[in-house]
């Protein structure tokens, strides 16, 4: 009886993947049939969106097509976030595993670093970087990696610690398995689900952070189309062109929600213990 019930539960849980799939489809197909996102047309400036007496999603203060800008901006912002989340994953997983499995002074060093990074808000580091070398996408990605790795390190350290003290690891050791064998065959495979969930959440978090930095004028440079930049462009047009900022922000909310839902989907799909049956 439980077989059918779990398969139904899994199937109904799959709606969580729909927003991300729709998003990726739109980002792949849309560039084939849309106007240039950078073509200016001052006679068409601030055309309202469809339903407000205009067409598509309207135009911005320089007459550039909002739909095209949002598609390109979303693609750029997602790319930056994915690169940053991947870089942070490499750094954070290494740190978390070293701390959680080696223990001792290595654990203390990594924990001290994690706490210190957490004490310095990423925006302030962004301010320092901008004060020195100005705005650049590469610097922003490095900054996001430098602050984002601590999330992976915290989660994986805790997980690796509890796993290495669990009964099945003890059983494996008692049967004569070596440390390397236990690490590769018992601990790493059990860390994968947690890692994947954090990874998807982190892409969303990176998107919010990079958009904040860009909006403040300390992230991606002005000539690069990004979602934070679009909201910033619309900031001065709030009175007669509300749609520029509004659509930029709504796109960010959609992207982050889609990524968080995908992370939830992963957690449910990869968790062998169904909710309600937990010990």
């Amino acid at each position: 009886m439980s077989d059918r019930r779990t398969s139904v539960a899994r199937w109904t849980g799959n709606w969580r993947l729909v927003p991300l799939v729709v998003l990726i489809a739109v980002l792949l197909v849309a560039p084939l049939m849309m106007p240039s996102p950078t073509a200016q047309s001052l006679t068409d400036r601030l055309t309202p969106p469809l339903g407000f007496g205009g067409q598509r999603l309207g135009t911005d203060g320089l007459g550039r097509d909002m739909y095209a800008r949002l598609v390109v901006g979303a693609t750029n912002s997602l790319t930056v976030s994915a690169i940053a989340a991947t870089g942070a994953a490499v750094l954070g997983v290494t740190g978390g595993l070293l701390a959680g499995m080696a223990g001792g002074w290595m654990d203390r060093l990594v924990s001290l670093l994690v706490e210190s990074v957490l004490a310095v808000p990423f925006v302030t580091v962004g301010l320092m970087v901008t004060a020195t070398i100005g705005q650049s996408t590469q610097a922003m990605i490095l900054l996001l990696i430098g602050t984002g790795w601590v999330t992976y390190a915290r989660v994986l350290r805790a997980q690796a610690r509890s796993l290495s003290r669990s009964a099945f690891v003890e059983a494996s050791f008692s049967m004569g398995a070596g440390r390397r064998y236990v690490a590769l065959h018992h601990i790493l495979p059990n860390l994968l689900p947690v890692f994947l969930v954090v990874y998807f959440q982190q892409i969303g978090a990176m998107l919010l952070w990079s958009a904040s930095l860009t909006w403040l004028g300390i992230g991606a440079p002005i000539n690069q189309i990004s979602l934070g930049g679009i909201v910033r462009d619309g900031q001065d047009l709030l009175y007669n062109g509300w749609w520029v900022s509004a659509f930029g922000g709504l796109t960010i909310i959609y992207l982050v929600t889609a990524l968080n839902l995908a992370a939830d989907w992963l957690r449910l799909a990869l968790d062998p213990v169904q909710k309600g049956h937990r010990a």
Binding site: I133, S212, G249
Partner: protein, 337 residues
């Protein structure tokens, strides 16, 4: 801190030369850990600023007009110690960072620390209002959403959505509706009490959503726990179970979260203060960074880091007071890592 003093010999700690109770040992260890962290953070931040000053070329270009004669520029370099060996500059820079001497602002010549401290009250006012609002609404929402079935799932959508809303965008939209279109509330400054409303709402949404979401999840977990079933089975009333067993256990992760939020709140303050022209440290830091005024940025980073670590110490002590399990564990500093 209402830590019970226990006198039995088993509780005494024999590692230290002084014979102190295990509770006191845990608290002292905790405070020392946080002090070490402050030292590490100041050192890291100061090193980063030092590196940046030297990476960005001649610092005198930052505050002398372009047409000034080379003699004056050289005299300035001498005064600032820029002609000394690099290691000597580094040592003096770091040690001055520890005593709060970040140098004078390159823009207006007043001590950088004073500039930051003068703006601190406005930021504290905003941050306190926001964290109070976030905690109250977050807890209220989590308690109100304790329903069974599909209502439970439906009520969890709102906090998830709230976490996806960018702070700067929410502020801009609130400003557009309530200040620009309706004209009900001021869009900038801190001259009237009503000017606090929009910045507080903007800053509070993210932490409120996080608190609501986490507390709701941990309530679900705790309600299903064995000790709650035991408490019910021994005939304890529903209210007593909630008060004595569910609430303290479910609150623990949320208290840890408030400590984490302190750091994000500083980032949020930079955004919100810039948007609403709130005269706090965040706005000062952004303006200083764009004007490349590194001493002020340096002072800002150190002051906020000390504040964040201080809040985390309070959170540690609060957890210790609520959760007796932590008092006997040897590694208290590591509980929220």
């Amino acid at each position: 801190m209402a830590l019970r003093q226990r006198s039995s010999d088993d509780d005494r700690c024999s590692i230290t030369p002084f014979r102190i109770s295990a509770d006191a040992y845990v608290v002292i260890r905790l405070i020392l850990t946080r002090i070490m962290q402050i030292v590490a953070t100041i050192w890291l931040a100061s090193s980063a600023v030092f590196l940046m000053i030297h990476l960005s070329g001649d610092p005198t270009q930052g505050f002398l007009p372009p047409g000034v004669s080379p003699e004056i520029r050289d005299q300035m370099r001498d005064e600032l110690g820029l002609n000394d060996p690099v290691w000597q500059q580094y040592a003096s820079f770091i040690s001055r960072g520890f005593i709060g001497d970040f140098g004078d602002s390159w823009r207006d010549g007043q001590p950088a620390l004073n500039a930051v401290l003068a703006r601190l009250p406005a930021t504290l006012q905003l941050a306190t209002a926001a964290i109070l609002l976030a905690t109250i609404t977050g807890i209220a929402y989590a308690l109100a959403s304790q329903r069974r079935g599909w209502m439970h799932t439906a009520l969890q959508i709102l906090p998830s959505l709230g976490q996806a809303v960018p702070t700067f965008w929410l502020g801009a939209m609130l400003m557009m509706v309530f200040a620009v279109k309706l004209g009900w509330l001021p869009s900038s400054g801190n001259r009237s009490a009503s000017a606090l409303i929009l910045p507080t709402l903007t800053l509070a949404l993210q932490p409120a959503s996080s608190i609501a979401r986490l507390l709701s999840t941990s309530m679900d977990d705790v309600v299903a726990a064995d000790f709650v079933r035991t408490a019910r089975s021994k005939g304890l009333g529903s209210n007593a179970v909630t008060r004595r067993h569910i609430a303290p256990n479910a609150l623990l992760p949320t208290i840890a979260l408030v400590g984490l939020q302190a750091s994000f709140l500083v980032g949020g303050a930079v955004v919100v203060e810039s948007l609403f022209a709130w005269p706090g440290v965040g706005r000062l830091a952004l303006q200083s960074a764009i004007a490349r005024d590194l001493p002020v940025v340096h002072a800002f980073v150190v002051v906020t880091a000390i504040g964040v670590i201080g809040i985390n110490l309070l959170v540690d002590l609060l957890q210790l007071a609520i959760d007796p399990r932590l008092r006997s564990l040897p590694q208290v500093g590591a509980v929220n890592v």
